[in-house]
Every structure is written in structure tokens, then in C-alpha cells.
């Protein structure tokens, strides 16, 4: 019954989503939600994206994605025992019920507005950006995807079968969800970076943290699942992580939708909705933790492992990620805790997060180089040291030299480079060792073919780890070598930064589909050769007459040129930013 039920559920939710989409596309302003976030002049792609531009539609998208995940589980679980599948689908169904009730009782996207509005109030101009089209869906796919790992964990607890098999089943789902979440966060970060006034690529805003918390714990889960699958250890711990990852996704929803914290993302808040989600949270999380307390003591410990072994490295990875998540959670909720204890109002900002986060991440990234080359069960430290000596030497040399090449030496910059090269070179060591092993029996196949023959999970891991290296590199470069100049430019003025010359060529008036804009033109040259032309705009949207600025950006592999209006009221473009390295957040898929 579970499988057909999941399919029917998906079809019904999809129908309601399509109905809402129809209302948006055909501008049916008798639907209150459409009238409040859309407008007939809004271009079609934003009319569709506006579905999740507000609270009610976001929820429907959430419910739809949950239905998609549930149906995917129903479809791709043919070789799983039937009782397991029905438990998993049952748990996901219960979560669905909760969200659908939330939607029906507190935030129905189909509430009518009679008589119908003549036109809509329009989508918040801040959100009229390609970022809106992809960032929320990706993020939600990730958030909701963790419900699969959660459902598998609960099903394993219910069935009392806590062996390696459930880890094997839930691992691919978790990895896919994790990849989507990573992509979603990375995109959001890029969006926040070029949007003026959102505090840069990462600002430790409560809502940013709300997406980062499940990511941290989810990353720990991805690693701990590997141990449970391969070695049968960490069983209780993995289950607990699966519960926490999804719980933090739900908590994120609560924080965003209830308005208990102030945030740039709090577009619509309502305490009544908060009470409902909180109740739901208590039932889901409290229930599953109670189940955990009841069932976990009966689970035996898994395989034993030595003090130096891959298990130990992964355990340390888990401890540090969870501690980091705890620190971020504490910082996010601290103002709320103090306020509810009547101990005053405070706000916790980036200095706290930077101070607690960096010291935790540095040793973790160091271990990231060692973990993959350590053996399961028992590893040999001197042996590892000798295998890694070249990697260590390369990263030290690069860390010392590269900052001088770039211009100026800073301790933190050097540390960043050291870590990035440490990860990269350790991957090179690990890959070349593996390839040497296969070289003998593959009969002279090409290098690429031999790389492709490596297990997917291993390749995925390396892609993800290289992503971390690139990310560290990007952060280091942006923090140290970003050149920003605030200046007022008259037509014909030029300014030169790091060899790039920006010339302001004047402003033209252009008309967009639902706005009027003053578009500045800035020619960027290097050694008198045209590099690119930037078009920063200042837009005034017809409906919500708030002036908005759009940065002119050209990003290459190793540099970003950006120009934006100094502020919303300025008549000529002002601020120019030139960065030598784009901030990359890599991510990898490790289908196992």
C-alpha cells in the first residue's frame, strides 16, 4: 500500500502546485497570495519563481519536494525488505501530514481575495534576481532530502534492526541531499555577495546559520554513515546524527518562519505560525529522540578499532563538526535565550562566529588530509608520515612563497594557502597510490580510464575535498586581496587597481519589463586591451517604487570585476570592487 499511496500523494500535491503556478502565470489576482507577491508586469520567469517568493508558496514547494523524495524512495527501493520500505514511507508520510496541516490551517496559498485585486503588489524587487529562481529550490531539495535519512533512521529504530544495511541504504540518499544543500548554500552565498547590502558572501545571519547547521551535521552524517556501513561502528551515533540533521532543517524552518530572531531573511513572520511549527517540532524531534532513548541501549557496539585508524580520524571529524554546529547554534539562539531569561538584549555577530569557528576548522582540515589515507581498524603513524612528507613539504613551501608572489604576506593568508595545498596534495598522494596499484593489472589503459575505474564513492569524496580546498583558497584570496575602492566618478574618469583600469563612459536610460533603469557603462582595460564592459544599474520598479541597485559583474576563473552604484540615491556609479579570485564553493556527489 505504501508505494501507491506515495504516488497518489505526489500526484495530488503536484496538481495543487501546478494550480498555483497556473494562477501565477495567468495573473489570477483573486488568489490572495498571487496578489501579494506577483504583478502582471512581472516577467514570466519571476512570476513562476514568485511562487516561492513568499511564505505560503514556499511551504507548498516544500511539501511538493517532500512528495517527490517520498516517491523517489518508493520507486528506487525495489530491493529493500517490504517492512523497511513501508516504515520509511510511513515516516515521510507523517512529516508530510504535518506540513500539509500547517499549510491548511495557518497559511493556505489558495485563500481567495474577493473582489479580486486589479493588480498584484509585486514581488519584492530585492528578490527579482536569477538567484531566486534556483537558490530556494536547491536549498529546499537539500533540507527536505535529509528527511529520507531521518526516515531510514527511524525505520531502523522501529524495526530494531540497526545493522550496516540501513546505513548502506540511506547513504546515497543522504549524499544527494547533502550535495543539493551545498549547492543551494553556495548559490545563496554568491547571490548575497553581489547584492548590495546583504553583508557579503557570508554574514552569520540567523537564517544563513539555519541552513548551515543542517549542513554541518549533515556533513558529519555523511562521514559517520561511511563508518557504520563499512565497519558497523558508530551505529547509535549515526542514527542520532540522522535525527539531528533533519531536526535542524525543521528548526531552520521554525527560525525563518516564526520571527523569533531578527534577520535580513525574515520576509514574512507570524507568531501564530511559530506556535504551530514549534508544536510540530516537539512531536517530530521529541518523538524520535524518545524512540532513540528507548531503542538505542539495545544496540551493541560495532567493530573495535585502534587509536590510530580511519575510524578515529572520522570520529574526530564528527566531533569537530558537531562541536562547530553546537557553537553556531548557541550563537544563533543566544540572544533568544538571554532575552527569555530577562537577562537583557544582545546580538551575536560575526566576531563571535569567526572566533569559535576558525580554531575548530583548522585542525579538522588538517585531519582531512590524513583521514583518507589511513587504514581502517589500525593504521601506522610513521608509515603515514612518510607517505605524506611530500604533501607536507609542498603545502609549507606554497604557503610561504605564494603570499609574496601575490604581494604581501599575512599569517592567516599563509595558513589558508597551507590548508588548501595540504588537502590538494594529500589527494594527489592518495590518488597516485591507488593508481599505482591498479597500473599493473589494467594492461596499460590510459590514465583517465584508470581514474574513471576508481570507485565512484572514492572519486566523489575527492571532488568534495578538492571543493573544500578551492573554497579555502577563495576565502583566503577574497579576505586578503580583494581591492575595493569607493569613489565618485564623472564621465571619462578612470581609476586603476591592480593593473585593471576602469573608465566610466556615462549613463544611459534603459527600460526593463517592469522597471526603468539608469545604466552606467564602465570599460575595463588591461594594458590598453579591452577586458570587459560592466553595466551597473540603478532600477526603479514601477510597482514598489523603491530604487534598487544592480551590480555590474564580470567573473573569470581567477578574478571578479564588479562595479556598483554607491547607494540607492546616487546619480553616478561609485563603488568599484576588483577581486583577484572568485569565491568558489565546490561540492561533490559520491554515489556509492
Amino acid at each position: 500500500m505504501a508505494r501507491p499511496a506515495a504516488q497518489v500523494h505526489f500526484i495530488l500535491v503536484a496538481v495543487s502546485f501546478v494550480c498555483l503556478m497556473y494562477a501565477f502565470i495567468y495573473n489570477d489576482f483573486s488568489v490572495k497570495y498571487v496578489a501579494s507577491v506577483s504583478n502582471s508586469m512581472l516577467p514570466i520567469q519571476y512570476r513562476i519563481a514568485a511562487i516561492w517568493g513568499g511564505h505560503e508558496g514556499s511551504l507548498l514547494l516544500w511539501a511538493l519536494l517532500l512528495a517527490v523524495w517520498t516517491m523517489a524512495v518508493a520507486r528506487y527501493s525495489r530491493n529493500l525488505p517490504l517492512d523497511m520500505v513501508s516504515r520509511v514511507i510511513g515516516v515521510m508520510g507523517l512529516i508530510s501530514v504535518g506540513f500539509l496541516m500547517f499549510m491548511l490551517f495557518t497559511s493556505n496559498p489558495f485563500d481567495r481575495l474577493l473582489p479580486a485585486a486589479l493588480d498584484g503588489r509585486d514581488l519584492n524587487p530585492l528578490l527579482q534576481d536569477p538567484g531566486l529562481i534556483i537558490h530556494p529550490p536547491l536549498l529546499y531539495i537539500g533540507y527536505v532530502g535529509f528527511s529520507v535519512a531521518f526516515a531510514f533512521a527511524i525505520a531502523a529504530l522501529l524495526g530494531g534492526r540497526m545493522d550496516a544495511t540501513w546505513a548502506r541504504w540511506s547513504r546515497p540518499w543522504t549524499t544527494i541531499a547533502w550535495s543539493f544543500l551545498t549547492a543551494g548554500i553556495a548559490l545563496g552565498s554568491w547571490w548575497a555577495y553581489y547584492e548590495l547590502g546583504w553583508g557579503g558572501w557570508w554574514f552569520w545571519d540567523p537564517v544563513e546559520n539555519a541552513s548551515f547547521l543542517p549542513w554541518l551535521v549533515g556533513t558529519a552524517l555523511v562521514h559517520s554513515l561511511a563508518v557504520t556501513e563499512k565497519r558497523g561502528s558508530f551505529k547509535n551515533w549515526t542514527v542520532l546524527l540522522a535525527i539531528f540533521t533533519f531536526s535542524l532543517s525543521l528548526l531552520g524552518t521554525f527560525l525563518v518562519r516564526s520571527g523569533v530572531l531578527t534577520s535580513v531573511h525574515a520576509f514574512a513572520t507570524d507568531p501564530e505560525r511559530g506556535v504551530f511549527i514549534l508544536g510540530f517540532l516537539v512531536v517530530v524531534i521529541g518523538g524520535s529522540l524518545a524512540l532513540f532513548a528507548w531503542r538505542a541501549p539495545k544496540v551493541g557496539v560495532g567493530g573495535r578499532f585502534g587509536l590510530v585508524s580511519r575510524e578515529t580520524f572520522l570520529l574526530m571529524n564528527n566531533v569537530m563538526l558537531v562541536v562547530a554546529a553546537g557553537a553556531v547554534l548557541l550563537g544563533t539562539l543566544y540572544p533568544l535565550l538571554l532575552d527569555s531569561l530577562d537577562m537583557g538584549k544582545i546580538s551575536v555577530g560575526p566576531p563571535y562566529f569567526d572566533a569559535v569557528f576558525l580554531p575548530l576548522m583548522v585542525p579538522m582540515i588538517f585531519l582531512m588530509g590524513l583521514g583518507p589515507i589511513a587504514r581502517w581498524k589500525q593504521a601506522d603513524l610513521p608509515d603515514m608520515a612518510s607517505r605524506m612528507k611530500w604533501a607536507a613539504a609542498v603545502s609549507l613551501v606554497m604557503a610561504l612563497i605564494l603570499p609574496f608572489v601575490m604581494g604581501e604576506w599575512f599569517a592567516l593568508t599563509s595558513l589558508g594557502f597551507a590548508l588548501a595545498f595540504w588537502i590538494t596534495s594529500s589527494i594527489v598522494v592518495s590518488m597516485s597510490e591507488r593508481l599505482r596499484k591498479t597500473a599493473g593489472n589494467s594492461g596499460g589503459a590510459g590514465l583517465l580510464a584508470r581514474i574513471a575505474a576508481l570507485p565512484n564513492a572514492y572519486l566523489g569524496m575527492n571532488v568534495a575535498h578538492i571543493g573544500v580546498a578551492v573554497f579555502i583558497m577563495g576565502v583566503t584570496m577574497v579576505n586578503t586581496y580583494e581591492v575595493e575602492k569607493d569613489m565618485r566618478m564623472e564621465v571619462g574618469d578612470t581609476v586603476t587597481m591592480s593593473g585593471y583600469t576602469f573608465r566610466f563612459d556615462g549613463v544611459t536610460e534603459v527600460e526593463g519589463p517592469n522597471y526603468k533603469a539608469s545604466r552606467g557603462q564602465i570599460l575595463v582595460t588591461v594594458d590598453d586591451k579591452t577586458e570587459t564592459v560592466l553595466f551597473p544599474e540603478k532600477r526603479v520598479y514601477f510597482v514598489q517604487t523603491m530604487p534598487m541597485t544592480e551590480a555590474g559583474i564580470d567573473s573569470g576563473l581567477f578574478r571578479i570585476c564588479m562595479c556598483r552604484w554607491a547607494n540607492r540615491w546616487a546619480t553616478v556609479p561609485g563603488v568599484c570592487v576588483f577581486i583577484t579570485n572568485p569565491l568558489w564553493a565546490g561540492f561533490g556527489v559520491a554515489p556509492s
Partner: protein, 190 residues
């Protein structure tokens, strides 16, 4: 067994705080001036710049100090209500004309009606700084002992006036020197 209950107990604790948090308003920043003596000042009056107004002269009376400026758009929307209030003769309203050109200010009052017993010129905004003004308009309720009892941030709305400011003013007017009336005693001010 007990250690397996730890996650549950921790979570329930967090949930308790979150429930409490729902009742709080994180955007409300309490003024540190409430229940503190109003800073003393002496400023020229808008309509007779030679004459000085000293806040000490108001001791023994309950009064409102409304911070306004002709450049302030929100003041325009609140002003008709203040005019009505002053006609009702319930409580004297004084204006603190904040960082404004006196000529513009006088024109503005001529156009919209003068709600104030007297407006005081705070040309450089120094008194505003003493009072912790961070947005215009703001309205202070000051009691007979010269203590700030309440502060309305942003335009005074009819409901804020009916539910908080006026009931508080009435209680403060009835209070004797020995009784202390705080804004927490008026339901609408919470």
C-alpha cells in the same frame, strides 16, 4: 539508560526557550531612559527665539515631549493626531524641533497646525542625543518628578494613544509624590 535520554532532555529545554521566545519581540529595543530622570535642557523657543524654555520648569506636571522635524515624513502623518490631542487639553505637548531650519519648521506648523504649547529649537541635535533619539518622530512621557515613564518610537498611532499613552498619563496625573507609577501598570504599554 539515562545517557540515551540526554538528547531528548536537551531538546525539550531548547523547545521551552523557543516557546518563550515566540512571545518576545526581538525588534523591540528597550530605551535605557525609561524610569530614569529626563535629561535637563534649556533651549530657545521656536516662536520667540529670545525666550528660553527650561525643562526644570515642568516639574510638578505630566507632559509629553514630541521629537519632530519638518524634513520628517512620518511626523506629517502623526501630526493631525497630536493637534487633536492638544485641543483636548488633557496633557501639555511640547515639541523638540530636531536638527531643523527654524523657518522651515514655522512654515510646516503654519501649514499643518500647531500641536505644541511650545516648540524648542534643537538645531544641532544635542538635546536629541541626550535623550537617545535614534529616529524621528519619538514621543516621551515625563512625569511630575521629571522622570521619563514611556517612549513611543515612530509615529503615535490612535491605538497607542488610547491604549497606552493616555491611560498612563491619567495614572501619572493622579499619582502623588510618594507613589511611583510605571508603564508596566498600563496593559497597552507592554
Amino acid at each position: 539508560m539515562v545517557r540515551y535520554l540526554v538528547p531528548l532532555i536537551v531538546f525539550l529545554g531548547v523547545a521551552g526557550f523557543l516557546l518563550k521566545g515566540l512571545e518576545l519581540n526581538p525588534r523591540e529595543v528597550p530605551s535605557p531612559f525609561i524610569d530614569k530622570p529626563a535629561p535637563n535642557f534649556s533651549l530657545p523657543k521656536l516662536h520667540e527665539p529670545e525666550a528660553q524654555f527650561a525643562s526644570k520648569d515642568m516639574l510638578g506636571k505630566v507632559w509629553l515631549l514630541n521629537v519632530w522635524a519638518s524634513w520628517c515624513v512620518a511626523c506629517r502623518s502623526e501630526h493631525p493626531l497630536l493637534v487633536q490631542l492638544s485641543r483636548a487639553n488633557i496633557v501639555p505637548v511640547y515639541g523638540l524641533n530636531y536638527k531643523d531650519e527654524p523657518d522651515d519648521a514655522r512654515n510646516w506648523l503654519r501649514e499643518l497646525g500647531d500641536a505644541y504649547v511650545s516648540s524648542l529649537i534643537d538645531y544641532e541635535g544635542k538635546v536629541g542625543i541626550d535623550y537617545g533619539v535614534y529616529g524621528v518622530p519619538e514621543t516621551f512621557v515625563i512625569d511630575k518628578q521629571g522622570i521619563i515613564r514611556h517612549k513611543v518610537i515612530g509615529p503615535v498611532t490612535p491605538s497607542a494613544l488610547d491604549n497606552c499613552v493616555l491611560p498612563l498619563v491619567r495614572k501619572l496625573q493622579q499619582a502623588t509624590a510618594q507613589t511611583v507609577v510605571k508603564r508596566t501598570e498600563v496593559e497597552g504599554c507592554a
